[in-house]
Symmetry: D2
Subunit: 254 residues, 4 copies
């Protein structure tokens, strides 16, 4: 079955910041989307990758559009508050139904991610273009497939612990920075029927999403996060009659 | 240091339902609070246990009152929506700062718990007064200290899987019911600097909180959930200057 | 790439117990292997499924044979001690290198599984042909794909808690039994670069492996447990020179 | 109840290496034991701390001695193989029964720890006296109580990922090193009825155990690892008669 991916981009820094424009003249979302198309094709995965922007969010993340989205990647930073609450809640509901979510970098503070985590998602940060090394700490996780140990990102914003997230269901990557801090930079969660992979490399001021190893992680992540082929509905609340499960209803309960 | 406990009771069924009045003439909260006082004293734990009701929630769960609360137990059912959003958010913030939370039974749907979980917290249910057996599945957890294996609750509402919660950080109890269902009935979570223990036995129509083994679990849970003696503040967001941690500031960062 | 599966069968009860012979005239391993062949073909997975017996264990689980095995299912009961220690250690090493392992039912006591767990793997049991209901407790796990909730096994040996295993990395199934006990019947672990899925339904005295839903779980499990395409070697011990990771060596470290 | 602690020291480097003799003239075990005595007294915990050496291991870790030990700390490096297998297995059994174990630094390769983990426990290392920073990644864990964030160890051997352990039940500390590597340096596990806390700072060539913050972690760890007051026996294997749990036997099953 075709893997239907939406790449959400806030696309604000790209409009107002010359440095970002030079690195991403057509936006970070374009680079991410093209990398996903290219790498998924190379992996033999049939995929459709579309772009969803904050400017067209009412359409691009409408109920109908999300109902046909299997995995949503999310980059946002300066305009988290411009995402309407109803749309954030809609994304959360779709994750509960099974849609995968891949929040990137400063999306640690995005509305969908913080609502799914239930924590502040606070962290330390410093923007001095430091080297980041992304170390794999899980020997058998598909998201770490084919990446060097470590991935070296020559220049990045530092994100440091404590990172106020729930303990990840699976911790995949831990980063160190030139300044000495560490960060749980690749963290997998399951919520409802959906899978979430937070991945921190990717500040707008550095060409991180142009880097081949980072693109490999993104391609692995969307494959991992794709829904199982269950009915797209959240776990139900139901008044279950005695012996309900002896009939034909059982499979519908999950 | 004195362990300061608040026992939150919705106290609605007790007012309107004769069956509940007979079992809990002074409310479930009174039985819970007295059990905690008695058992914590027996354990040699210095504790203060106060009652907080929905009717006085503006005062009993005010900023000031919560700031002096170490662990909050929460029973609610028919009036979840009557808890103001601001107070639910205040409870969540206090958990992020370190306060323990012990949601009981139908509080799986309470505003603080669902916001901390980020999931629907849906489940199956059936109210036919079935036997519940509460099995310990964790050999070394302090919340299971001194309880029989299983605890038998003669009559209870059935809560069944799937229970739409994040995978618990520690699964302590799993229940079976006479009708055949299972339920993760004792589940421990860490969120921010706070600890949460959800415990499902305790429907208002059965004398569950009068049962000695159930009281023992509650007394264990509030001890486990008490905050570590760190500053009562959430994990911070902070712009960290290079080498900040070489100065005297480091301990304040967590 | 072809998924290379070995189905290990102890094949002792089948030789000496008439009841088992009637249910499994050609051995449990044959039924399991044929089910895997049929279902993996239906899933579009290219697979080779071979049988490995205790009687030919020196060849069927030789270094060479295991080096070409991606996933090993294991059924054993009365003859755990007849598995040579060297072969048990070899299986453990292969799991560390990336081979998947799917221990079934009484293989909770097999040498490879107990060595990988580091616990006693003790449990309660009762063989009275009780109904078992296998409930899914993980909304997004691929091993639960396409199975009813619950799977009902009409007659089974009871396995009950406490089951002395480490907390699973992912808990997929919890069973209840007619007699009231519960059991963590589907538990996923990662060890080294290998994945392990323990699945408890399947006593030799009942036709459990003939049941379609159980076969579906087995087919899901071997797909989940297949190795990532990394070099087949365990995580290394290495004296790492300063800045080793800036050269070409990095990818070989994991 | 008195907390009975045994501090196991291999005590070999101290005999043969002048540098180690200068830092630890009476052995690392003496410094650790004295720190525990002093800090537990300050915490108001009644404790007995004894020393157990490889030279007297037959007596100091005899069945009788271990039966009266609540928590065992373990430092070993060059003489892991001199620990008899029977004694390693005895330690493992005592952990299954409830004894706490705190393996330190190079004890990642000790027989008891590797048998309890079921993995190779391989890692990267480099001994160049690099700065280590020990970061807390768990906001509410008692083992991180009262320690700075980060703890700075001025000179240490580097231990780096991948560290081939099972995913910890609770990850408490992650370290970075001057050379850029990261390491899961504080990892909590539950096995059987016992608790295990692996803590990596502490190479023999540097005065790490003289450092106050490191001593604080050790004192926190032994308190966390102390057994719950259950019968000192592993989880049992038992043939459970139908309705066994309705009698007086239930509490004995765990």
């Amino acid at each position: 079955m075709t893997l239907r991916i939406a790449v959400f981009g806030e696309n604000r820094h790209e409009k107002v910041d010359q440095r970002v424009q030079e690195i991403y003249p057509e936006g970070m979302h374009t680079v991410i989307a093209e990398a996903l198309r290219r790498l998924l094709a190379a992996d033999g995965v049939e995929a459709e990758v579309r772009i969803a922007l904050l400017d067209d969010i009412e359409e691009s993340l409408s109920e109908e559009a999300l109902a046909e989205t299997d995995v949503l990647t999310w980059w946002g930073h300066m305009a988290h508050d411009d995402v309407p609450d109803e749309i954030a809640d809609r994304v959360v509901r779709r994750v509960h139904e099974g849609m995968g979510l891949v929040p990137l970098h400063s999306a640690h503070y995005s509305k969908p991610f913080t609502r799914l985590m239930g924590t502040t998602c606070n962290l330390l940060w410093r923007n001095e273009g430091e080297e980041e090394r992304v170390w794999t700490v899980n020997g058998s996780h598909p998201i770490a497939r084919g990446v060097p140990h470590p991935i070296i990102v020559p220049e990045q914003e530092m994100y440091g612990e404590m990172f106020d997230i729930p303990a990840p269901d699976e911790l995949v990557f831990v980063s160190s920075f030139a300044g000495g801090e560490v960060f749980r930079s690749g963290a997998a969660f399951r919520r409802g029927k959906g899978k979430i992979f937070y991945f921190s490399p990717g500040d707008q001021e550095y060409p991180v999403y142009h880097q081949a190893e980072i693109q490999r992680v993104l391609a692995n992540a969307v494959q991992w996060a794709r829904p199982e082929d269950r009915p797209a509905q959240p776990v139900r609340i139901a008044n279950a009659q005695r012996d309900w499960f002896r009939g034909e209803e059982s499979v519908r309960a999950i």
